[in-house]
Amino acid sequence: MIQAKRYNPLLMLFQLFNLIKNSIFFVVFLFVIKAGSDSAFIKYGKVIFILAFVITFISIIIKWFTTKYAFDNKSFYLYKGIFSKSERSIPFSKIQNINRHTALFHRIFRVTSISFETGIKGENASVKFEVVSRIEADRMEAHLSSTVHVDLPSIQESDANMETFPHEEDDSKVNSIRVLHFKPTKKDTLKASFTSFSFLLLIPLIASLYFKINDIFHVEEEAEGVISEILNSWWLVFGIIIFLVIASAAFGIVSTYLKYGKYEISSDFDRIYITKGVINETSFSISKEKVQAIEIKQSTLKRVFGLAEVKLTSAGGLGSEEDKHEINSLYPYLPIRRAYEIVSDILPTYEVTEKMDRLPKKSLWVRLLWPSWIWIITTAVLYYFKPAILNVEKAWWIISACLFVIIGVTRLLDFYNTRYVLNDRFVQFKKGSLTTTLFVSKREKVIEVRVSRNIIQKLLGLASIKTINRAKPVYHAGIEDVPQELANVFYKWYKGRKNEIKLE
């Protein structure tokens, strides 16, 4: 058994920092805004606040002295408590993915935070180190990946022009070289900034700034003369417009760069690493065989530009940071060809088949004729109230008709975008009207399947199929109105999963 260690002492500082950050609101409210108030509510509020602050402060220190951690070749061991002691061990094999987050605080002290996520439900789902030295974090991550998969056969990677990934402070424990698969070039960042419409972000920013300044300085009245003068000279107007266009484009590019600029997708023989962020650095790493499914998402605009977002589904949590939705995403603006290449590079056991089957014509009729509850309810409500919008008395039926057309078109688009294919070991579903999602998973990763048929589907020989995969929360994927024969094949296909699974 390895000697248990205390957490990094900077953890106390970090928690104190968070405590102060969270109490700023109360301080301002109790001691600045309501400073002179005599009401009992405020008086007691102050007392309670100070008490809570002191107690939390003390508990931070006590907690640090009473919690310890250790790890050996198999598991993490976490110890905590003064009177009622608890000891928790988390086997490495249960860890699904590793998230790292380096916020500004961590940067200042040259530390990082790392969390090992398991697929367990509830609050004890992760082993989290909110402050840990980078060396220790690297050591833990390398230790974990080298001990778990040491007995696996190495997977041959076949890419001639691979660069080796220079990794800081990593010792010889990493048993294979990291390969860099993607790093956005200037062109990628430019494309990303235009596809994400990030240049439009400047408009609300300027507007809110303007209104704030206007509140204080009353610009509107004073500038009246100036504005009319400006409007009189066309070249000045022209100049201002050009300036605004350039400024917003630059702003968009900078904000995109800050978000997606330092993106890196790399992998070694058993793990995939995604790192991103210029100021707040986050990184996500997952063992290749723990990838539950792949999702390839394309919005209309991305389809026009030939870009796509690839997401790796993990059974572990993705952290509670605001960018949790994107942490598991390979670069969200990957050129589609490149996306397929990267997937086959980093996940050699996955295959993405590009040729897929379409739905039969009769499913289009089912979908078009199926009553739309949204439309029915909206129309009923509109009919009842008959609101006159913009002085148009007949507005209610115009809205209803528009909604009807929109729903029809979305259904039509969804029908044309829907594709599916069942391969030997893989299942692939693609659907969506404006934004399409392609879902790819392996038979052994699907934990449950469902087939259902409503009355109309029964009459037309159609069915709906559904797969469930591990994720947090569990991931449902499926296709409605496939031919009955396919549903039968699908059922049998899933029964064949015994060919792939290994029993303990």
Partner: protein
């Protein structure tokens, strides 16, 4: 119609229909009593007009559901099938929408038999099976069948896949 998906064979206890109907009757009676009280209060305190309309709406929908709740148990009993083998738990049910579910034994986390007061009266048990994804229940099985099924599933579910 569904000849290719091999329908599982085992059925629920015949008493299921009776139990379901009784419980539906109880629920409906309670529901209508509550509605009746609300109507009376509405009349007594002359509540706003729209409340009355909502009550009428709720009442008419409840009547429709009450009628349906007497047909549904028969259809549900007719369609409910389940099967267990070493690899899969297979369920098929649905009065209006026919549902087939295929659950690998290795993904089952727990299995339990439950019994409410109504089921106890008829000596029936519900078997509930928890997986990573959801909880499945096989309602209204005779005691011996339920216990046997539970033990069997527990036995089969002991086998674990190499979790990767």
């Amino acid at each position: 119609m569904n000849s290719h998906i091999l329908s599982p064979q085992n059925q629920l206890s015949k008493k299921a229909v009776k139990v379901w109907i009784i419980s539906e009757v109880i629920e409906n009676v309670i529901g209508f009593i509550v509605l009746g009280v609300l109507f009376y209060l509405d009349y007594l305190f002359s509540w706003k007009e729209w409340i009355g309309w909502i009550l009428i709406g709720v009442a008419s929908i409840s009547v429709l559901f009450a009628v349906w709740s007497f047909i549904r148990p028969f259809l549900l009993y007719k369609t409910w099938r389940y099967a267990v083998d070493e690899e899969f738990l297979q369920l098929k049910y649905g009065a209006l929408i026919e549902k087939h579910q295929l659950i690998p034994m290795t993904k089952i986390q727990s299995v339990a038999t439950n019994q409410g007061p109504l089921l106890r009266r008829y000596d029936l048990y519900t078997v509930s099976i928890e997986t990573m994804a959801s909880t499945h229940t096989i309602p209204a099985l005779p005691k011996e069948t339920a216990v046997e099924l539970r033990n069997q599933i527990a036995q089969f579910a002991k086998v674990k896949e190499v979790e990767s």
